[in-house]
């Protein structure tokens, strides 16, 4: 990979576009959830206001160093994922820092934030955090399995570990997308996707409606705001990977916006329709339905 300084402002520009888009997309998805429940839902700019308010709160309490670093790690996971994955295929500006082995790095970043969060929430010392972390990590691990297997299948199929090359191989009509050339891998990956999007039916470790809210129980003001920022960036970053690996990538921003929105919609729809799984149920679900599909997709390739 050749590095030029101009890449840095370009990457920041990508980040900004993704952030603003992410704020509105998250809001719209939340509004859709509200409409499904018969409510009008939050206002379009609500997420911005919440963020600004949380950054503007005057007092913070720390529970130790890892408590600081938890949200920071988490945000690093999201930002790093965006920076090292080609957002728009074939564009010099939004290629970011993609390089030959970036698929492996991306897989690492997907898990990195969760681990940082686990350490940070552990330090907060709140029992709900510990319970949430245990549930979250076990569920995430089970959900990652089909996803990772599907990624292996895809990289075997295209004989490369570079996301850019995988996207390049899928150009030329939607029939050359992985979705059609290797549907089993895509299904396995989508099962994993549902599990890592922190939405119902797989959001028991967050349990946002009940009294214990899981890992972030003790996080407040700026810490919480950092995590909210990540909640906006990270799903998009993950969806970008999915889009690049399975749905042919995007060659310009409108296509990018549309594809990301549609992929997000899958998890939102499933979330609105289905009630919540308990942890052992969801792990069983991933192991029974996701894992064999993942293995099958590798065998077929």
């Amino acid at each position: 990979m050749s590095f030029e300084w101009i890449q840095i402002p370009y990457a920041l520009l990508t980040l900004l576009i993704v952030f603003v888009y992410g704020v509105f997309m998250t809001t719209i998805i939340r509004k859709m959830g509200a409409r499904a429940g018969g409510r009008y839902g939050i206002r379009l700019y609500q997420t911005f206001v919440d963020l600004a308010k949380n950054y503007a709160l005057r007092s913070h309490i720390s529970h130790g160093i890892m408590f600081y670093l938890g949200p920071v790690f988490r945000l690093t996971g999201g930002v790093g994922l965006i920076l090292f994955v080609p957002t728009i295929y074939g564009s010099v500006m939004h290629q970011n820092f993609a390089f030959a082995g970036d698929l492996v790095l991306a897989l690492y970043f997907v898990f990195f934030g969760t681990l940082g969060m686990a350490l940070g929430a552990g330090e907060s010392g709140h029992p709900y955090s510990a319970v949430g972390i245990t549930r979250g990590l076990s569920q995430m691990t089970a959900a990652e399995l089909p996803f990772v297997l599907a990624v292996f299948a895809v990289s075997l199929q295209y004989q490369t570990l570079s996301i850019t090359e995988i996207v390049a191989a899928q150009q030329g009509g939607f029939l050359s997308w992985t979705l059609f050339t290797n549907p089993i891998a895509v299904v396995a990956a989508m099962i994993g996707f549902l599990g890592t999007m922190m939405r119902s039916p797989f959001d028991v470790f967050l349990a946002p409606q009940e009294i214990p809210i899981g890992p972030p129980t003790e996080f407040h003001s700026a810490y919480l705001a950092l995590m909210q920022t990540n909640r906006i960036l990270f799903p998009i970053a993950k969806i970008v990977i999915y889009m690049n690996l399975f749905f042919g990538g995007a060659t310009n921003w409108p296509v990018f916006f549309l594809k990301v929105f549609l992929i997000y919609l899958v998890s939102a729809l499933v979330g609105v329709v289905f009630p919540r799984f308990r942890v052992e149920q969801s792990i069983r679900f991933f192991l029974i339905w996701g894992l064999p599909l993942g293995i099958l997709s590798i065998l077929i390739v």
């Binding site: 409510r39 609500q46 600004a52 709160l57 005057r58 309490i61 129980t217």
Partner: protein
């Protein structure tokens, strides 16, 4: 049995004299021994500080606007008025469209609704929750019970004026106020905050001794540090 005489059980100590709050030596599973002083070790001992507003007026105004438009309520009901808060989340009243949301933990909330009468026992919990919230924070008293005792005026176990124990920003009168009244009250609270009037947390910090004296005069079973955050 040798001694048939009845001896009454010793009275359980209350307040800070309780057994589980005493300093003690603990042996960990790996054989280490260390001292635990629950009151000192599990809480922070500092008194609350009054926090500065930001120096530039327009920044503070913007922040106040954000705070007003994003009110996160601590979902914590104390009296019968709590039942009127629930409909606000439902399709019929839908407070979310006014920027009002519910948070399950005091750390993330910045509006404490005291929904009705406060028994002395609940007051202790309300104080703890309030002190764990982050500055700036607001208190709204719901119903006549929080204003002057309401129909619990001569009760032996409820407080009368909430204002003497926590800095209240706004009262919503009624017994009990309907959800529409609550929505109107929230709009009023927003006006207060936008005008820069939502400084209850600083007021609490500045008059800390007065509030603590009032609180301790009704809570006999005081088993927590003076300020828990």
């Amino acid at each position: 049995m040798k001694d048939e005489k009845y001896t009454p059980l010793p009275r359980r100590p209350i307040g800070l004299d309780r057994e589980e709050l005493k300093k003690r030596t603990v042996t960990a599973p790996d054989g280490q021994t260390f001292e635990v002083d629950p009151i000192r070790d599990y809480y922070c001992q500092d008194a609350p500080k009054a926090h500065q507003r930001s120096y530039i007026k327009i920044v503070e105004d913007f922040f106040n606007w954000c705070r007003a438009e994003s009110l996160w309520i601590l979902g914590y009901g104390t009296g019968c008025g709590a039942i009127e808060m629930r409909p606000l989340m439902t399709p019929r009243f839908d407070a979310y469209r006014y920027g009002i949301q519910w948070r399950p933990t005091p750390r993330q909330a910045n509006l404490l609704m005291i929904s009705g009468y406060l028994s002395v026992k609940t007051l202790k919990r309300a104080i703890r929750s309030y002190e764990q919230m982050q500055n700036p924070k607001y208190v709204v008293g719901l119903g006549s019970c929080t204003i002057n005792g309401g129909m619990y005026w001569d009760s032996y176990n409820t407080i009368k004026k909430l204002d003497e124990y926590l800095p209240v920003d706004l009262y919503i009168a009624g017994c009990m106020p309907r959800p529409e009244a609550l929505l109107a009250g929230f709009e009023d609270l927003k006006k207060i905050i936008k005008a820069g009037g939502g400084e209850g947390a600083n007021k609490y910090a500045e008059n800390f001794e007065w509030y603590k004296a009032n609180q301790k005069s009704v809570i006999k079973d005081w088993d927590m540090p003076d300020y828990n955050w």
